[in-house]
Amino acid sequence: MSTTEIRSNGTPKVGVYVCHCGINISSKVEISKTVEFAKTLPYVTIVRDYKFMCSDPGQELIQQDIGEGKVNRVVVASCSPLMHEPTFRNVMAKGGENPFFFQMANIREHVSWVTRNKEEGTKKAKSLIAAAVCRVALHQPLERKRVSIHPDVLIVGSGIAGIHAALTLADSGKKVYLVEREPTIGGHMAKFDKTFPTLDCAACILTPKMSAVLAHPNIILWTYSEVIGVDGFVGNFKVKVKRKPRYVNEELCVGCSECIEACVYKKARVEDEFNVGLSKRKPIYIPFPQATPLVAVIDEASCLELKRRKCKKSCVDVCEPNAIDFDQTEEIKEIDVGAIILATGFKTFDARRIFRYGYGKYNNIYTSLEVERMVNAAGPTSGEVILKSGQAPKMVAIIHCVGSRDNNTNRYCSRVCCMYSLKIAHLIKERTGAEIYNFYIDMRTPGKGYEEFYDKLLKEDVHFIRGRVAEITDWAMTPEEEGKLIIRAEDTLVGAVRRIPVDMVVLSVGLEPQADTEEVRRLFNISCSDDGWFLERHPKLAPVSTFTDGVFLAGACQGPKDIPDSVAQAGAAAAEAMALIDRGYVELDPNTAYVQEDFCSGCKTCVNICPFNAISFDGDKNVAVVNGALCKGCGTCVAACPSGSLQQNLFTDEQILNEIKGVVSYV
C-alpha cells in the first residue's frame, strides 16, 4: 500500500464517542471496557461515552471538544449510519469542522441487537470502533454538491391515494403529472358503493375529487398510460411515459356513448373489467358513467376494425365530433420531474387459489369485490343482491381472511377485510333481509368509529362464528342441505364442528401487491419487503420515503390500507415532495469518483464500466474524465482502474484498506 500521508487539518486528533443508546447498546456492550480500549487506538485523543449521543447534550459533547481543539476527527459508536450519519455530520459542521471528518461505528444494529452476550458484544464493538478510527484518520475534507430541483412532480396511479396527493400538490401550485394505466382514474374506490364505517356513498365523496383532478390547471392527467423509463436522481428525474392509443381523441370525445350504441356488435360480449366480470361490455366502451375522463376507449383485442380492418365502422359514422381515430398510435412522452410519488395500489387475492372454498366451481360464491359491484346501484345488478337463479338469497355466509393470515397464502393481515365484511353484511341484510353468518378468526376493528360499527352489526342480528372455514361443498348430508352450499367450519367458541347450509357465499379476499410490482420496483429503483409490498425507508421515521431519494410512497402499494389511511399517507407523501421541492436544491453526498490525471495512463478500462456514462475519455490529454454531476458514487470504476489512478471520495483504497486493517488486526 502506498505510504499513507495525512492530509488537511493536521495530525489527526480522533475523538471517540460511545453511545449507550439507553440500554439498547449498554446491555450487550461493556461500555467502560470499550472506552478503555478505544483510548489505546492510534490518533485517539479523547474517548467519551453518553446515554444518548444523538440527544442535544450528546451532540454538545462533540461540538465542545471540536471547539476547544481537542479533536479534529470524530468517531461515534452508536446506531447504523443509515440512521444518524447525517445528524452527526451536522454536529461536525456546527462544531466548525468539515462534516466528513466523521465515521460511525454501528454497534447497535450490527452488535448489541444481534449478539448473545456482553462478551461477544464488547469484542465485536471494539473491532468496529478500531476500524472506524483507522479509517477516519485518513478522511479528507469534502464539499457537498448542490443540485437544483425540478419543481414538477410525477404521481403514478390514480386511486384515492394518487388523486389526493395530486390535488394536494396541485393546490399548492406544483405542476403534477398524474399517470394512470386504466382508461379512467378512481381505482378500487370507484367500484365501491358505500364506505365503512360511515356508510357514506363512495361515489359521492370520490367523484368530486375525480372531476377536480380533470379540471385542475396544475394537473396533467394521462390515463391509459404507463411509465416505461426512469433516469436521473432526486430533483432531476427524467421519465418516459407511454400513452397507449385509445383510438378515441380525448379532446374531441364528449362521452355521449352514441358510438357504443352504434357498434356493429349488437350485444356486449366482452368481459367488463370494471364490473369484475359480472357483466359484459362492447369493444368500444366507457368503463363507468363517472369515468374520468369521460372518454370512450376502443379495445384492440376485440374491435373488429382493429383486429381485421374490415368493419363498417358504424361508430365512426355516428360520432359527430369525429373523435374516433383508428390511426392513433402509441405516444412516448418525456418529462422532467423533481419528485415521484408511487400510488400504484393493490390487487385482490385470487380466491381460486384456495380450492376447498370452491370459488369458480360452485355458483353463488362471490368475492367481496364482486359483491361490492353487486350492491352498487350503478353496478351490473343495479344494486340488487341476487343468486344466479334470480332470487334473493335467504342465507349468506361471509368468510373472512381469504388469502390473509394464512401460511399457505399471505401471512399478513389485510387490515380492511373485517370492516368491509361488516359493511357487506350490513348492505346485504339491508337489501335482502337474509340471515348472515360471518366466519372470522379474530375481529379486528381498530380505528375511529370502527368498533362502534361492529357493535351496530351485532345488534342487527348478524351471526359471528369464530373459526376458519374448512371447506365449502354442495354435498348434502340432510334434506335441508339439498341444493345449498354447505359451510363446514369449527366453531372455536362452542368447540364443535358445524355445517351451515347457505344460498350465497362471500369470500372476503385479502389485498396483495400488484402483479407487476417487481417491474415497477426496478423501474423506480426501490426495494420491496419480503411480503412484496414497497419498502419504506423507515417504518416509523420515514414511512412514506424510500431508499431512493425523491421517490415517495402513498396508499396500499406500501401495504394494505383502508381509505382514511391511504388519504392520510397520500397527504404525507405530498408534503414530503413539497418540502423537497420548496428547498429548491438537494445536497448530494460527495462520494464521487475522481481521476488523478498525472497518473492516468489513458487505458480506458474505466470508461465503459460506468452505467451512468459519467466517465468520458479526453483524447487530447489522454486521460479519463469523471463528470461529477453524473457520477452516482458506486465506485465500480475505482475497483476496475488498473493503476489505482481513479479514486472515490469517502471510499479511497487507502481508507478502505485501513478500515480492513482496523477491523481485523486489533481485536
Binding site: C634, A639, I656
Partner: protein, 168 residues
C-alpha cells in the same frame, strides 16, 4: 485429539464482510432491528456497492488476519447502481479461481446476494459461514516480513530433511 482438532475446538473465526450500502448493509440493519441473534464473528465493512469491491480488499483482509471473507450485494437486476453487482460477480469468479490455485480453501471467500428485506438471510448466511470457516480452522498465512517469522503460526516440526532456514 489431534493438534488441528484441538485448535479448531476453541477457534473463533474472524470474518470480514463487505456489504453494499443499499441492500445487504440495510438487511443487516434490519436483522438488528428484528433482534435476530447470529454469530459475532463477522465484522462488516460498508461500501456503497459490491462493484466497489477491489479484490485487493479480500486479499488484504486475509493478510491482516481474517480467516474468511463474505461479500454481500443486491440481487442480480436489483443493483442500486444498475450493474455493480455483475461487476462484483465477474471479479469474484476470477478471484475464486486464483485463490484455488493459491491453495486457499474455496469456502473461505463467499459471495451472497442479500436484499434489503432479507434480514433473516443475513442471519443464516453469517451463521453458516462462521461454522464453515470454523471447520476449516484458522487461516495461517506465512508472514511476509522475515523477522516476523519467529511469531509465525506456521511453525512446522523439525525434520531431518529441513534445515534452519526452513523454520518459517
Amino acid at each position: 485429539m489431534s493438534n488441528d482438532e484441538a485448535i479448531k475446538a476453541q477457534f473463533e473465526p474472524k470474518i470480514v464482510a463487505f456489504f453494499c450500502n443499499w441492500c445487504t448493509y440495510t438487511a443487516a440493519d434490519l436483522a438488528g432491528t428484528a433482534r435476530m441473534v447470529y454469530a459475532p464473528n463477522v465484522r462488516v465493512v460498508r461500501i456503497m456497492c459490491s462493484g466497489r469491491l477491489d479484490p485487493q480488499f479480500v486479499l488484504a483482509a486475509l493478510r491482516e488476519g481474517a480467516d474468511g471473507v463474505l461479500i454481500g450485494g443486491c440481487h442480480p437486476g436489483d443493483c442500486h447502481y444498475q450493474e455493480g453487482n455483475y461487476k462484483a460477480l465477474r471479479r469474484f469468479t476470477l478471484l475464486k479461481s486464483l485463490l484455488k490455485s493459491m491453495g486457499i480453501e474455496q469456502e473461505r471467500v463467499r459471495l451472497e446476494w442479500i436484499a434489503a428485506s432479507e434480514g433473516d438471510k443475513v442471519q443464516r448466511v453469517i451463521n453458516e459461514m462462521t461454522e464453515t470457516v470454523r471447520q476449516l480452522g484458522p487461516l495461517r498465512l506465512e508472514p511476509t516480513i522475515y523477522n516476523l517469522i519467529e511469531d509465525s503460526l506456521l511453525k512446522i516440526p523439525e525434520t531431518a530433511t529441513l534445515a534452519k532456514g526452513d523454520e518459517l
